[in-house]
Every structure is written in C-alpha cells, then in structure tokens.
C-alpha cells in the first residue's frame, strides 16, 4: 500500500478547534486511506484523522507543527487535500 506524509504548521489563530477539526475529519472521511495526524514536543499524541474527538485532544494550537500521514491507495491525494485545509487556514480570515 502506498503511504504519503506531509509536515505542516497550524497557522489559523484559534488552532484546530471544533469547526476546523470537523472540516478535517469530513475531508479525511472522503478517502479510503487511513489518516493519522501526529504531534511531537512535550505532549506527543497521535490522532486518528477520522475521529473528531481525537483531533480535538491533539490540542493543535496556532504554531503547532503536525505530521499528516495517509496509508492507502488514495494516500497521495488525501494528504494533498488535507494539507491544503491548513494552508487555507480553514477558510478563516
């Protein structure tokens, strides 16, 4: 199975709060690949990218570096789309 990964930095001011977390999970669920989002640093955590609860627990505030990892036949495009959400700051001004 192909895997793909991308390092990103949370850049929207409220961080990965309820709405962006939902947006992320909704997007992740469009793909067959498994999606994992991991955070290093003092409180390392690995979240299932299809679980909104785990994405909240990730506590990804503004400036947090994250790694998005997808595993499955559509891994490449999944990572591309998910990383774009962060680049677009989840549509926040």
């Amino acid at each position: 199975m192909p895997t793909a990964s991308r390092d990103i930095i949370v850049s929207n001011s409220l961080g990965l709060h309820a709405r962006p977390a939902m947006q992320f999970v909704d997007t992740a669920n469009q793909f067959r690949s498994t999606v994992t989002v991991s955070k290093g640093g003092e409180k390392p955590y690995q979240a299932d990218g299809k679980s909104v609860m785990q994405m909240i627990i990730l506590e990804a505030t503004e400036g947090t570096p994250l790694k998005i990892l997808a595993d499955g036949d559509d891994a490449e495009i999944a990572v591309e789309k998910l990383a774009r959400l962060f680049a677009d700051k989840f549509g926040e001004e």
């Binding site: 961080g15 309820a18 939902m22 999970v25 909104v52 785990q54």
Partner: protein, 578 residues
C-alpha cells in the same frame, strides 16, 4: 485508585458507592447486564445514537435555514462527535466486554473524554468539555426516557457526586442513605457545606471536575478531615480509612459522655450552648448532642423546599413542630434571610449585579410586606406554645430595625383584634452581621432584647471576601484582627444591657472557644455536632485563663499569629481538639 484534593468543608470519613448527579438530577445507574441481554443492550445504544443524530441533524438544518450559523456549527460538531467511530466503538466495547448497561457505558466513556478535555491548557479547547457533557446528556436522556431521580427515597447508602448542590436538591434529601458529598464547585461556606455540617456527614467542595472523574457505582472515600476524595481505593486505603472512621466514632462516644454535664468552666462560670437548625426535625439531634435550646432557626428552607411561598399555616406548622420537640426550651426564629442566594437570583426577573450588596434578607422583607407579615403572624401565633424569640437578620441601620418592629407591632394588634392569643412580650433580637451594625452596637442595644453575632456575613462584609469564590476563599478568616475587634466591641457594648450570643460558624469552631469565652461571650449557638467538642473545652479551662488568652490574641496584628497561638493554647487543654 485516584486521589483528588479539594476543600474539606465538613469533617468525617465516608466510604460508599457513588451516585453521580448532573445538573438536572439525572442519575447514572451502574447495572451489569446479563450475558444474554448484551446484544439487546448494544442495540439500545445504537438506536439512541441514531435518534440523537437524526434529531440533531434536523435542528442543524433548521438553524441553517434561519441563518444561525454560529449555533449550527456547534450542533454540527455534536453530530461529528456522535459519528466518531473511535468514540462509539469504545462505548460498544464497554457494553460487550464489560457487560455494562448502555447508560453506564455512555457515561463512563464520555466522562473519560470530559476529564481529558478539561485538562487541556488551551482555554478554548478546554471549554469544549461543555459540549461533551451536553452530548452525554442527550444520549442518556434518550436511553433513560428522562427519568428524574427521587433523592428523597434511596434504597442503599451512597455518596453524592455533583457539580454543585442546589437548595432545592438538598431540601428533600434522604438523610438515612446519603453518607457524604463531593462537588465540583463551592467554597467553605457554600450551601453544600452548610447542609453537610447540619447533617453531620463529610463533604468536600471545589474539586474542579470530580463529576467527570467518578462514574456511578465507583467506590469512593470522602475524607472531609483532609479534603481528599479517593476514587476506587485500593485495599490499603480502604483499611486506613475504616480505621479513621472507627476512631472518630470512639471520640464521639467519649464526647457523648459529657452530655449530662453542664457547660461550666473550672471556676464555675456557666455557659449556654445552643444549636442552629434548618428543619424542625433537627431539634431531636440537637438535644441528643446536649443543646440547651435552638439559638438559630433558619427559616429559609420553608421557602426553598417547595415551589411556592409558604402560607401562614405552613410557617405555623413548622414552628409548632419545633416547639413541641423543644418542650419549653428556647427557640430563636430568624425571619427569612433570602435574596443573595443562587435560588432567589435564578427566580428573579432582574438578577442583581451585586446580590450580596442588594435586596437581600430584611431589605427584601421590608419591600414585600405581605410576605413578611405572613411569617410574623405565624411566629406570633406560635409564641404562646413555648419560649419563642424573634430575630431580624442583616440590619444595617436603625430605621430598618424600627420598621421591622413596627410591622411586628401591627401584626400583634391585628391578632389582638382577632382575639388570637400571642405573647406580647416576645423577646426581639437582631443579628449583628454587618460592620455598620457592629460599630453602632451601643445604639442598637437600646432597641432590642438581644444580639446574635452572625460571623459568616460579618467576615464577608468586613474583609470584602466572597466566601463561595474559591479564588479568594482563602482570605475569608474569622481570625482577622479587624473581625475580632468588631466581635469584641459588640460583646462589650451589648453585654452592658442585653444578652449577646453568637450563631455564626465561628461559635462552633473549637479553635475560637477560648477566645470567645475570654471576650465575655456567654451564649454560643452552633451546629449540633460541634457542641460536645466546644463543651469539652469550656469544661477544661477557667474564665481567668480564657481572659488572658483573649488579651494576648487582641494584641496580635495578623490572622496568622492569631490562628497559631489559638491552636497551641487549645491543644494544651485538649490534644484531640483538631
């Protein structure tokens, strides 16, 4: 095993099963399901989940149609959580692997998440714990068909775990089965604390998020002496705490042996020890503990226990009940002291910005004369049934006192006209619980028959501390020299012509017994359970010694010195005092 530290507000140790209440009195039962029913139980959860998602989706669409995107976003998040397979699979696993009921499984898993959320450092994210509670409630309501628990009829012993206890919840508690309280919110003199002390059961408040940490059915130790809650204790913790409980019972028995003996100092000064009560039924317990009468009957519960203002007959019935039990011992009835409490504020159309400085207590009564007179009439009618005395709370100016007395005279004249018997010479007293009244004690002493010092409010108003606010509760201290100065002056000025008692919590704290004796206080009114200990100290000292202690204390300039010195002096005469 997990240990949580809070504020111990009522002493003692309870070991029992947890009953977790949410804000709406929904109790979460733990029940294992028999193996054969597990599929049905899992199906029940699936159905509740589907229904909850459907109903939320409908709400969401309606909100979108109304352009209320903000709230729709929150609902969308709730739907997302309910659709979260990693969450629902945990709930199903709890049912299938541990044979839990659907309710218990939901509550356990959601509370685990709530605990994680509430520990997050990011304030915004930590706030989401409210959503978790909300989602849990939605599922539970579907599962349980919105059954409310009747707290007045429990079938086994429990400790109650709640966010905060409301007067409406505690008024009807089953006193036989409730063994302790632990709450998320509250301070040293919050409602929960007062009720627990009155019931003589341990309580710990200000635990932060205990409702998320404990699941119904967990074994919990509530150690009110140290302010510690132990969840799922191990064998060692259980054994230690059972030992502590046993020692406390032994001490109680030892103190009970003082019951028949008078509260008299070694040099022969007799002191009056009375009890504070909230319900007539508490009179029996007070007498068992050696109270000579009731120095403070708080009448608020007549209002809080029912959904309507009590009628004159309901007032009269309660007073007559208490008097019958007292058999001619004194009963000091305090007119209603409501207003600043959460209950009144919640009911009010215009909640006050500063309720403790607002229309509370006697101020409220003087603004609602028909209500006030109903209570006064009932008290006057009861006044021929025993030794009844009447007391007005929160007096701050002479005008208020005179108005209240005038209304009392009106009521007496009305009764006179109607030919209803009453005691025209009923002793009339007032609480001294505001600095203005304390400072003018000599003036007030000319217009009443007795004073009773209410220390909780006196401290609050002197030190400007909200005692229920955990952030500043530490500043609330009866030993503050300013408070002690006021207490000393009130006793001194009042005792020249009238009797002075104290009914605040300070009166029941053994730490202050020597000091208060030395300042000349002769009547102490307290929670019944504190009487034996205070009596023991009274009986172990001389007035001469108490006066020396008081002189020394009044020379200190910090509450720290006061507390240290009093602790040492009290331990010298009673090593087991604390």
């Amino acid at each position: 095993m997990e240990i949580k530290k809070g504020i111990g507000v009522s002493p003692g140790v309870a070991i029992s099963t947890a009953l977790v209440l949410d804000a709406e009195n929904l109790a979460i039962p733990r029940r294992q399901v028999p193996l054969a029913n597990i599929d049905a139980e899992a199906a029940r959860f699936d159905l509740a989940l589907k229904e909850a998602i459907q109903s939320l989706t409908r709400q969401h669409d309606e909100l979108i149609a109304l352009q209320r995107k903000e709230i729709a976003g929150i609902i969308d998040f709730h739907i997302g959580v309910l659709n979260d397979a990693s969450l629902t699979s945990q709930i199903v696993a709890e049912i299938r692997d541990r044979h839990s009921t659907a309710e218990y499984a939901v509550s356990t898993v959601m509370r685990k998440y709530a605990a994680v959320f509430s520990k997050m450092t990011d304030g915004y994210l930590a706030e989401r714990v409210k959503d978790i509670h909300d989602i849990e409630r939605q599922l539970l309501q579907r599962l349980m068909g919105q059954q409310r628990l009747d707290l007045s009829h429990l079938t086994s012993d429990v400790v109650i775990i709640a966010r905060d206890l409301l007067p409406s919840q505690t008024a009807s508690l089953d006193k036989e089965h409730v063994k302790g309280f632990a709450t998320d919110a509250g301070g040293r003199t919050s409602h929960t604390a007062i009720v627990a002390r009155a019931m003589g059961i341990p309580a710990i408040v200000g635990l932060g998020n205990i409702t998320a940490e404990v699941s119904a059915g967990d074994t919990v130790i509530i150690d009110g002496n140290h302010g510690v809650v132990i969840i799922d204790p191990d064998e060692q913790a259980l054994a230690e705490n059972r030992g502590a409980e046993l020692r406390r019972l032994q001490l109680d028995t030892e103190r009970a042996s003082l019951l028949e003996l008078p509260a008299q100092t070694l040099d022969g000064h007799l002191i009056s020890l009375m009890a504070n009560i909230e319900f007539p039924g508490e009179v029996d317990e007070a007498l068992r503990r050696g109270a000579e009468g009731i120095g403070l009957y708080r009448t608020e519960y007549l209002y809080l226990a029912s959904d309507h203002e009590p009628s004159e007959e309901e007032h009269y019935g309660a007073y007559a009940d208490a008097l019958l039990r007292l058999k001619n011992r004194p009963l000091v009835i305090r007119t209603v002291d409501l207003g600043a409490d959460k209950y009144s504020q919640a009911k009010s159309a215009n909640p006050e910005r500063n309720p403790f400085l607002g229309e509370r207590s006697i101020r409220m009564c003087l603004h609602d004369i028909p209500m006030f007179k109903r209570q006064l009439r009932a008290i006057m009618r009861a006044s021929v049934l025993g030794d009844v005395r009447i007391m007005f709370p929160m007096i701050t100016t002479l005008m208020e006192l005179r108005q209240a007395r005038m209304l009392l005279n009106d009521v007496m004249e009305e009764l006179e006209d109607e030919g209803v018997s009453h005691n025209r010479d009923i002793p009339v007293g007032m609480m001294i619980e505001v600095p203005s009244a304390a400072l003018m004690a000599d003036k007030f002493a000319k217009e009443v028959n007795f004073f009773s010092i209410g220390t909780n409010d006196l401290i609050q108003y002197t030190l400007a501390v909200d005692r229920t606010n955990e952030k500043v509760a530490g500043l609330f201290n009866a030993g503050h020299p300013a408070v002690l100065g006021l207490v000393r002056d009130v006793i001194r000025k009042g005792s020249r012509s009238i009797s002075v008692s104290m009914c605040g919590e300070m009166a029941g704290e053994p730490l202050y017994t020597l000091l208060l004796l030395g300042l000349g206080l002769t009547t102490f009114s307290m929670n019944a359970r504190d009487i034996p200990e205070v009596k023991k100290i009274v009986r172990s000292t001389t007035m001469e010694h108490a006066r020396q202690v008081a002189r020394r204390v009044m020379s200190f300039d910090s509450e720290r010195q006061v507390m240290h010195y009093l602790r040492d002096e009290t331990r010298k005469i009673d090593p087991e005092a604390f």
